[in-house]
């Protein structure tokens, strides 16, 4: 199994590439490459089906964007498809209009914009499908350990809540009480919440008796240095990440701020981690496949950042007037590089069939 951070890095590289273009061909290629890697390296676990969920969410996003464009936005272009009855707004809201003519160019521009957002969602979904959330929490630095534990508890308890709800509803049905509607929900809420509270108290007692939450003694100066490094690192990281994804921000805000943020954050985490006295059991290694995946992510993101700053034609598809978009080969190769993780990462083990069954299959 690959280190989960490597998969998130790969998805981040594809998301950065998707944010720099609205060419539908390139965006569809990014989604196809993400789906290919997910299909090749997706483990057989319940959480690994989130790629399909995110794809469907992307379709909803495109639909919402198109509906907003039809109702609210000013039309661009001349090819009027149909007209909605328009409502006149006061001059103070000059930029907004309701209804009016709907042009093909504005619909297609809305589809391109929605597709870009859907592609970024697909990249996040791919990372969710490939990187086990439990192992990702294991890789969380020691400074965020308590936060990570609470997230693990929440993630593990969610299926329990659903099972509880089913059990309570079945009990109510057997007793002839209302099952659906407001009365049913109100009647089921109390037992479910009570069960969840009891379980969480029992878990807290068990964790406390095993020594969770103990902290080593550190001087106030080290604590202050840790907090300041973490805060500055977080702010710089957020600014750098935003500047990287927004193509209109100045260049020095992107990568340099990201580097500054990472450096401060790493220093802060290293300092804070010495407070938490925990050891890791079988940590995920970071070896050659992880470096390869990280290199693929860097190549993809770097290609698109360079192409965007050089103004390569084809990254922005022409909408007004409508024309077929150009296909820059550099961008296509950059995206195809991100398909390499399907080959350079170790394949998942095949599920083993039981010995008795295999004997029957052989003799048949």
């Amino acid at each position: 199994m690959l280190h989960p951070g490597a998969w998130w890095l790969w998805a981040a590289g594809l998301a950065v590439a998707a944010s720099r273009t609205n060419n539908p061909l390139l965006l569809l290629l990014i989604i196809a490459v993400a789906g290919f890697v997910v299909a090749a390296r997706r483990p057989m676990a319940p959480w690994s089906r989130s790629f399909g969920v995110f794809l469907r969410l992307g379709l909803i996003v495109i639909a919402i964007r198109v509906v907003f464009q039809i109702i609210f936005a000013a039309p661009i272009g001349v090819t009027v498809l149909f007209s909605l009855p328009s409502i006149a707004l006061p001059d103070a809201m000059a930029g907004i209009r309701i209804g009016g003519p709907v042009t093909a160019e504005s619909l297609i521009a809305a589809v391109y914009d929605g597709l870009r957002l859907a592609t970024i969602l697909a990249c996040v979904g791919a990372a969710n499908s490939l990187a086990s959330p439990a192992r990702l929490l294991k890789a969380v630095p020691a400074a965020l350990y308590e936060f990570g534990v609470s997230v693990v508890v929440a993630v593990t308890f969610a299926p329990q809540l659903v099972a509880d709800l089913d059990r309570v509803r079945a009990a109510r049905r057997l007793r002839g009480r209302a099952e659906g509607g407001v009365r049913g929900a109100a009647g089921a809420a109390v037992p479910v919440l009570e069960g969840a509270l009891e379980r969480s108290v029992a878990l807290a007692a068990a964790m406390d008796s095993r020594g969770y939450g103990r902290q080593a003694e550190r001087s106030p100066a080290v604590r202050r240095a840790t907090t300041s490094a973490l805060l500055i690192g977080l702010v710089a990281f957020v600014v750098g990440a935003y500047a990287l994804l927004d193509s209109s921000a100045p260049a020095y805000l992107g990568l340099p701020m990201l580097a500054v943020g990472l450096a401060c954050g790493v220093a802060g985490f290293a300092l804070a981690g010495r407070r938490s006295t925990r050891t890791r059991y079988r940590p995920d290694p970071w070896t050659w496949p992880e470096w390869g995946v990280a290199a693929c992510a860097l190549i993809t993101a770097g290609t698109f950042l360079a192409a965007s700053s050089l103004g390569v034609t084809g990254l922005i598809a022409p909408v007004d007037p409508l024309a077929w978009p150009a296909v820059p080969p550099v961008a296509v190769i950059g995206i195809l590089v991100s398909a390499l993780p399907a080959f350079i990462t170790p394949p998942l083990p095949r599920p083993r069939i039981p010995v008795a069954l295999s004997r029957e299959v052989v003799s048949a």
Binding site: L25, A32, A39, A74, L253, V332
Partner: protein
């Protein structure tokens, strides 16, 4: 207490530098600007061309130039409706708007391009036509994110590009006379892609998506 205040100040200064720097830009932009008339003189339009509906008998202007914080490069021709629309009779139920398009001087042109000659047209349009419709009736326009990028193919590929502020004002070249003939044809569409490249790209997408679906089916079986 004091170290925490210091930390907050440092964090705020990072954010402040990040946010304030783009505003203090030392660079200029090269773009088409949209002009209306007020009291017989050119004035920068206060809204985009799609939001303004010019009245019958007004003059609209477009000028391509390099502008810093303020935009002072007017179209170089006086806004005279009578001289532009002298030969176009009025039509019942439609309005006449004079359109003057000034692609600017050679010093404003992007690398390797020469500005075409300035031209004017009398556009007869529906009463509800916006400034945008008037421009499109007289020329081919490429827009991107609501910005008018090129008119009749000039400039060929860029869109409101940022340029270094010119060190000093170049000597103004002699103004060419305004052409009232039909607008020059655009020099060809540089942004459209070839169908072959698109077909190849679509084929790659279909192949990879197909491989993903096949792998998904095989893993499930």
């Amino acid at each position: 207490m004091l170290p925490r205040v210091l930390i907050a100040l440092i964090a705020a200064s990072i954010v402040g530098v990040a946010v304030a720097s783009p505003a203090a830009a030392d660079e200029s932009y090269r773009y088409w600007s949209y002009w209306n008339i007020a009291d017989g003189a050119w004035v920068l339009a206060d809204a985009g061309p799609a939001d303004k509906t010019p009245a019958d008998g007004t003059v609209e202007g477009w000028r391509f130039s390099i502008n810093g914080i303020s935009n002072t490069d007017l179209p170089r021709y006086s806004p005279d409706f009578g001289s532009v629309c002298a030969d176009t009779p009025a039509q019942d139920g439609r309005k006449r708007v004079a359109l003057i398009v000034d692609p600017g001087e050679a010093s404003d042109a992007p690398e390797g391009e020469t500005p075409p000659g300035p031209w004017a047209r009398c556009v007869v349009a529906e009463p509800s036509a916006t400034g945008y419709d008037i421009l499109r009736a007289a020329a081919t326009v490429r827009m991107q994110d609501g910005l008018t990028c090129d008119i009749n193919g000039y400039p060929s590929t860029e869109c409101a590009a940022a340029v270094a502020t010119p060190a000093d004002e170049p000597q103004p070249a002699p103004t060419p006379s305004l052409s009232l003939a039909a607008a020059p044809a655009p020099t060809g569409d540089a942004a459209s892609g070839s169908p072959l490249a698109i077909a190849l790209g679509a084929a790659v997408v279909v192949v990879i998506a197909g491989a993903a679906v096949v792998l998904m089916r095989r893993r499930r079986a």
